[in-house]
Amino acid sequence: MKSNKITDHLILMVGALFMLIPIWLIFASSTHNPNTIVSEGLQWLPGDNMVAIYDEAWNKSLGFSDAVTAKSMIINSMIMGLGFAFGKIVISMMAAFALVYFRLPYATAWFWLIFVTLLLPLEVRIIPSYEVVAGLGLLNSYTGLILPLIASATATFFFRQFFKTIPDELLEAAQLDNAGPFRFLIDILLPLSKTMIAAIFIIMFVVGWNQYLWPIMMTTDESYNTIVMGIKQVLNNINETSLPRYDYAFAMVILAMLPPILVVVLFQRWFVKGLVESEK
């Protein structure tokens, strides 16, 4: 029994190292002079260039035509992540509210229409989607980046399931007190849904931040680059120069991962709850 526990820990440690080592190598290497990387490869121990390189990545533009820095791309990613999460939650809650609390003609039809989004990921409608967004003049805009993505069957069903667990008596009581639908939604449902909202917000923020294909298609203007898509440009730049600025690229990679990782680690409990419950 005792030796079993030790094997368990060993296996878990190997697993944890498998997860950690890639990131550690990139981080440690980012703090070295690029010459060291070119001649000696990735580094296991941190160097002494940390402050300088992160300062450079944050403030200076390298390989972009405009003044695109980690800072400007992270701001775009923030807008994308927050807009994505906020938008999904608002329109999903509203739709779920309509589906659960109103006697709606053709409710099943609406339900299926929302369900259909699950069947239509971007890849099955890639060119026409681009044309629609272009036709509406939304290329290179935050609206174009966010709005087309915020319809969400999973979030709607998530709230629909949750609303169904709220006892009828609450609505009866609210109606006795002459509360209308808006009142009921804002004063009763919203406070009751707080943890649900927090959980799904965390998931959606990470998913929004990590969008890749959609921003590539929607933006030609580099000032709208998110950091996840901007990485590709940094990579192209590295492959073209004789002395590749690996340190700069590594720092960009670390900066691109940091915000979503922090969110997931700091809000671990809500994150796990949101993930497990939303897929039910």
Partner: protein
């Protein structure tokens, strides 16, 4: 259960539904319908003239050796990635469920990779497998394997699989651990009394109880390998070398967006649509069973 109590205001629910429905109509249903329509048309690249050609686009597609090899690669890749990431995650989840001390630490260290974008995972992979600066080339050289993911399609596939699995293990781990922890203590205790052997107990009690979670995750993992690995492929191999790692999704993007072959790309989109339909159908059959379990 039908809700007894409801509001009656008639136009109001439509106001609440409208934003969601409008976005779905404009950005989902219309483009998808257009893709189906375009898949039956032959259009010149400037869109000045088009011709209804029935299934010609599909015929060309399935006669193209490139497309067939892309199907082969995608299926093989999806199956390998799904099974490896499910197996690894299950092993780790079972071990994490066993231990008492330090479970929280392992949970965090094994789950945070969820937050890494596939595209970023691909960039990191590209560095680790890089023949000049990476660590894997040396590692493989020690066992006599001349590893070169930039020139050899098999090596490129191996590299993509490792990175894609690395990225996916955490999600599976979370679900498996949640599944394991929902098995009641009484069941576990009874099993321990009846059966001394750890591995036998796992295969006869725990594994069957986890099967519904496993089936559900299988669909999630297949979907991930088909669709979300686009970011990994685009940053690591660009579908190369020699088109050897071009997945179906990567090909749709390449042919339609970069190559501007509307009819052909739309036909590929429709094939993908059928794939999603199948996966969703399977998923819902399984979820239904899960509920009744």
């Amino acid at each position: 259960m039908e809700r007894r109590q409801q509001f009656f205001h008639s136009p109001l629910p439509y106001v609440f539904l409208a934003p969601q429905i409008l976005i779905i109509a404009v950005f989902f249903v219309y483009p998808a319908a257009k893709a189906v329509y375009l898949s039956f048309m032959l259009e010149d690249p400037w869109g000045t003239s088009s011709l209804f050609v029935w299934f010609e686009n599909y015929q060309i597609l399935f006669e193209s050796a490139e497309y067939l090899s892309s199907i082969g690669f995608t299926l093989m890749f999806a199956v390998v990635v799904s099974f490896l990431s499910l197996g690894l995650a299950l092993l780790l989840a079972v071990k994490a469920d066993n231990i008492i001390h330090g479970q929280g630490t392992y949970k965090v260290t094994l789950t945070w990779v969820y937050a890494v974008a596939p595209a970023i995972a691909g960039v990191i992979g590209g560095f680790l497998f890089n023949p000049h600066i990476g660590i894997f080339t040396e590692l493989f050289a020690m066992i006599g394997w001349e590893f070169s993911f930039q020139t050899d399609p098999v090596d490129a596939t191996v590299a993509l699989v490792i990175v894609s699995v690395w990225k996916q293990v955490s999600v599976n781990f979370i679900y498996f651990l949640a599944g394991l922890q929902s098995i009641s203590y009484a069941v576990k205790e009874a099993a321990t009394l009846d059966c001394i052997s750890d591995s036998k107990r796992f295969w006869t009690i725990t594994f069957p109880l986890l099967a519904p979670t496993g089936f559900f995750l299988l669909v999630i993992n297949l979907t991930y390998s088909f669709f979300e690995t686009f970011g990994v492929i685009d940053t690591m191999t660009n579908g190369g070398p020699g088109g050897g790692t071009t997945s179906l999704v990567y090909k749709v993007y390449r042919d339609g967006f970069v190559g501007a072959d509307l009819g052909g790309s739309s036909a590929q989109s429709v094939v993908l649509l059928l794939l999603v339909l199948t996966l969703t159908f399977i998923q819902f059959r399984v979820v239904e069973k899960r509920v009744h379990y």
